[in-house]
């Protein structure tokens, strides 16, 4: 149980990078960008192919990020210069990327089993320093059975994700970042303050898909393979993370929201791994489970809000009738 939860948290942290990308396009730019399904695989494919061809995993990951950035820029170009509807630009790019990804990989699946990846390097570095032992001791002291293979991947992913989070927080408060947010909020307004909304949309989608590709590249190295189908439904997973996170942790400030998105991505993974432990559910039910989680995350807050409102109104009404009653009572007393 603990080991599977540990695995869920570990991959949740890596998927959080993808969710941050989705947050940038969906929330900040207000652009429902479906490129994600394709660019996630692009990141994985580029990294995997470069690694099996002997490149260093670090360089492979950086190139994967650049590939994702370019894919996002193309979607932005389709929308701003080609005047294609946002949803359609994303879908077109997603379809195009499916073929491009196959071309990059040369086959539909690239295994990385015996290759050196970022994570194998981190793991051996971590275990050489014997850093896992203290954490394992804590776990044992808490009376939880089972020890994970290494703590290195968890901490490394957490550091990467937090760095990206803080950079995003900072960026969204810079002059360019403010203009980017205003582009999602009120295009007419920011254009009247001399911001080129086309460039901002293109660059913003580039950045968003760069995050997604980074996540894809890391997931491929974590899971030990890149697959043409690994991106299917990724946009919904990203959206689920954003929505769950926002509903649970709030959106008071940008820093809070990006943290919520990361939390949402981790919780999503935990929920899925719990759901898969239910006897009659199979791995193939994943997408259905995802859909149910998203619907629940979207509908539950509204129902709760409606109930709260109802209770509030009922209370108000009761107060007024009570007041009226006491007044009547006073009058009655005065008359007698």
């Amino acid at each position: 149980m603990f080991v599977s939860m540990f695995g869920a948290v570990e991959s949740g942290i890596i998927y959080a990078l993808m969710a941050l990308g989705v947050y940038l396009s969906f929330r900040v730019l207000d652009f429902p960008d479906l490129t994600v399904d394709g660019s996630f695989v692009t990141g994985a494919a580029v990294a995997a192919v470069m690694i099996i061809n002997g490149q260093s995993p670090l360089i492979a990951t950086v190139v994967a990020v650049i590939a994702g950035f370019l894919a996002g820029c193309v979607t932005g170009l389709l929308h701003t210069k080609g005047k294609i509807n946002p949803l359609l630009s994303g879908i077109l790019m997603m379809i195009a990327l499916y073929s491009i990804n196959l071309r990059i990989m040369g086959q539909s699946n690239v295994p990385l089993l015996n290759e050196t990846t970022i994570f194998t390097s981190i793991t051996s570095f971590w275990e050489n320093l014997n850093l896992s032992a203290p954490f394992n001791n804590i776990i044992a002291a808490l009376g939880i059975s089972g020890t994970p293979k290494t703590w290195g991947i968890l901490f490394f992913s957490l550091i990467i994700t937090l760095i990206i989070k803080f950079l995003t927080d900072y960026f969204l408060k810079t002059e360019v970042g403010l203009a980017l947010r205003a582009t999602g909020d009120n295009k007419k307004m920011i254009r009247s303050f001399s911001a080129n909304t086309d460039i901002l949309i293109i660059a913003g989608l580039g950045l968003s898909n760069a995050f997604v590709a980074l996540s894809g590249a890391l997931i491929a190295q974590h899971g030990g393979f890149a697959d043409a189908g690994m991106g299917i439904g990724m946009i919904i997973i990203g959206l689920a993370s954003v929505i769950i996170g926002e509903a649970l942790f709030g959106t008071k400030s940008i820093a809070r929201t990006t943290l919520a998105v990361i939390g949402g991505a981790i919780i999503y993974r935990i929920v899925v791994s719990l759901a898969l432990r239910v006897d009659f559910l199979e791995t193939g039910d994943m997408k259905l489970i995802t859909a149910v989680i998203v619907v629940a995350a979207l509908v539950t807050p509204k129902i709760l809000e409606a109930q709260r409102e109802k209770r509030r109104r009922l209370r108000k009404r009761r107060e007024i009738t009570q007041m009226a009653d006491t007044k009547k009572g006073e009058k009655g007393n005065a008359a007698t």
């Binding site: 900072y170 960026f171 408060k173 810079t174 002059e175 360019v176 970042g177 403010l178 203009a179 947010r181 205003a182 909020d185 009120n186 007419k188 307004m189 920011i190 254009r191 009247s192 303050f193 001399s194 911001a195 080129n196 909304t197």
Partner: protein, 264 residues
């Protein structure tokens, strides 16, 4: 400062709905001029505004700002020189962002946007000073989301954002029309103040004749895409609504069609 020469624009040319929105309009504003533009619906006031701002391109004719040809500059390029307040109080601000962030975006109008924080300590105190001049208490709500402000407050903020970088031209597009009378008066007063303070060359479209008479040193009346009346100086100061209506009748040989313009 602002020159429009032979500007023409026709919508839906060659169809049943053809509309000559602007016909060979010439306009020349000097530095510090405050021009009010009146006319009935469809007279071409908004088209004139949009051609100056760059939201619309003229079929023929040129727009010059400070003797520089800007006819072919895109809206976002031109807006370095032009401050603008829209009729809709929602249009001029970003609702989900804070007051200070909105001001920071406006402050970057005539500078290159960098990767430095938009709201620095120094800017904060600068924004506070500017907000204090509005007397609306907004200086104490720097971190409030603009979506929470009332229409009047938003329009006052839009006005400040449009003017405090001292643009070459200020365009006001019926910017008090969506407000109730008392708020409209407040915004009118603030407008007069800031235009005077920054000595802005201003062009204000309005449906409200009284407002057009009260504000500015020059007035033009438009009809069917043409400027049919142009008064300034003492003549403008002595104008009354009655005189304006008579003038319109004399020129056009018909009564002014728009009741709204008469009543307001």
């Amino acid at each position: 400062m602002l020159q429009l020469s032979q500007a023409s624009l026709t919508f839906n040319e060659g169809t049943m709905d053809e509309k000559k929105a602007l016909q060979h309009v010439n306009l020349n504003l000097n530095q510090g001029d405050f021009l009010t533009v009146i006319g009935s619906n469809g007279a071409g006031k908004s088209t004139l505004m949009n051609i100056i701002s760059g939201s619309l391109l003229p079929d023929t004719g040129d727009v010059l700002i400070d003797n520089n040809q800007v006819t072919h500059l895109q809206e976002y390029q031109r807006s370095q020189l032009i401050g603008r307040v829209f009729q809709d109080p929602m249009a001029g601000t970003a609702p989900s962002m804070t007051i200070e962030e909105n001001l920071a975006m406006a402050w970057s109008r005539n500078k290159k946007r960098s990767l430095k924080p938009g709201v620095s300590k120094r800017r904060k105190s600068l924004f506070k000073e500017h907000l204090e001049t509005l007397n609306l208490g907004l200086e104490d709500r720097l971190t409030a989301k603009v979506g929470l402000l009332s229409g009047g407050e938003r329009q006052a903020l839009s006005l400040l954002m449009a003017t405090f970088t001292e643009p070459k031209i200020l365009l006001l597009d019926e910017h008090t029309a969506a407000l109730d009378p008392s708020r409209a008066e407040l915004i009118t007063n603030i407008t007069a103040e800031v235009v005077k303070k920054f000595k802005l060359t201003t062009l204000m479209v309005t449906h409200n004749m009284q407002q057009a008479l009260d504000l500015g040193n020059r007035l033009i009346m438009m009809d069917k895409g043409q400027i049919i009346l142009d008064v300034d100086g003492d003549e403008k100061q002595s104008l009354t609504i009655e005189k304006l209506l008579n003038e319109f009748q004399k020129i056009r040989g018909e009564k002014m069609a728009n009741d709204k313009a008469v009543l307001s």
